[in-house]
Symmetry: C2
Subunit: 208 residues, 2 copies
DNA sequence: ATATAACGTGTACAAGTGTACGCTGAAAAA
DNA sequence: TTTTTCAGCGTACACTTGTACACGTTATAT
């Protein structure tokens, strides 16, 4: 029953990552976590931390990556659902809401670091969100026949509004989340309709 | 030349607040500031801090208040400009952009604490932003004749998008900010137009 | 003139921090 | 089998942190 060394290392690495997520509760930001604290929670000696990460910043970026993976899984699922039974807008919003219900810690991390004090973190989160934007823009572009640029502007606005609605939802009772969802849907519809109206269904209908 | 004691106290209080804003640079969040650090920057003994604030949280809330004051001044100026020469949307966006140009530290504080780890802070920032939302909603309601609720939904979306564009602008060279401004304006126009289209200029034109 | 109140100081301490260093035991390589 | 590698540990050290406490100093109230 001798276990692979690499496997053991990976396992410990996971413990560290899980410990960090565990500590990222409602009241703690990543920046407020100390290396020793994470090590304690992970059940290892403080100095062992360095066998896995250069410093806390590197751990943080790994957490963001982790969040990105979950986000992309979510995106695939959403795409699936949209193909099954229409309404991009409703499904996008509801998928996000599902996300914060299933992985509030992960969402909180992305939310906070998006406007956090580390440029590296901000960029990392922004990059993850861009996947969603690109995906949505693509859909808009082909479905509605807008130019790539117009589609992107709409998609960015939509992602921001959905993301923001989720942030609000975090501070709410689940019962109030329904209203937030509906509000976000209305807002996204305004954007879609407004763009439609401005661009008049022509591929390059704008000012250019 | 004996100075009033209360005046002296107020002056020291200001030193503390200014010191804190000073430390809130691009790379530091409020949560990462220590009491001693702020005291050092303010040029007072660490223990003197307590003569003015119960703890760091209280200082933080004062900073948010301070930001709120600036925000409201801004709002008044924007209202003025709108009355002078139309275009709510362009003027709102440009006023915000002016804000981050003039007081980047203040904006950064509001931006970060809006999704920070303290509920008290989040609520405080949210309250400040609501002033803007209410103002804008009021304008939309009377100018466009939408219901209070519809107007609010639009106003919230607009404020979020503008706020977000400013956040992006913070990481940009001033030359790129123009494009962000234009993008935000387009997004806001989509919302206005979309709402118009849905609600058809009637006070209660929605589903209701 | 005297007493009071209170802003600001310096000292002190326990607690927590990041991380350098050397060691151990066991898995992997030779 | 012997040697090498390396994840994990414990100790140690130099900091920084919040804050309790006792003490000046001086504007204000009596």
């Amino acid at each position: 029953m001798t276990i692979n060394r690499a496997q053991q290392k990976e396992k410990t690495r996971r413990q560290i990552i899980d410990a960090a997520f565990q500590l990222l509760s409602e009241e703690r930001s990543f920046a407020s976590l100390s290396l020793r604290e994470v090590a304690r929670e992970a059940g290892i000696a403080p100095t062992s931390f360095y066998r896995h990460f250069e410093d806390m910043e590197e751990l943080g970026l790994s957490l963001v990556d982790e969040g990105g993976v979950i986000l992309r899984q979510l995106m695939r699922k959403a795409r699936q659902r949209i193909n099954d039974r229409g309404s991009v807008i409703r499904i996008s919003v509801e998928t996000f809401m599902e996300f914060i219900h299933n992985s509030p810690h992960v969402f909180r991390l992305l939310l906070r670091e998006r406007s956090g004090s580390s440029l590296a973190f901000r960029k990392a989160v922004s990059r993850e969100l861009q996947y969603f934007v690109v995906e949505l823009a693509d859909y808009i572009q082909h479905q509605r026949g807008h130019s790539a640029e117009d589609a992107r502007i709409q998609a960015e606005a939509m992602v921001i509004l959905v993301f923001n609605a989720c942030a609000e939802a975090l501070d709410c009772k689940p019962s109030e989340r329904v209203q937030l969802t509906e509000k976000a849907i209305v807002q996204l519809r305004y954007i879609a309709r407004g763009a439609e109206s401005f661009l008049r269904r022509r591929p390059n209908g704008g000012v250019k």
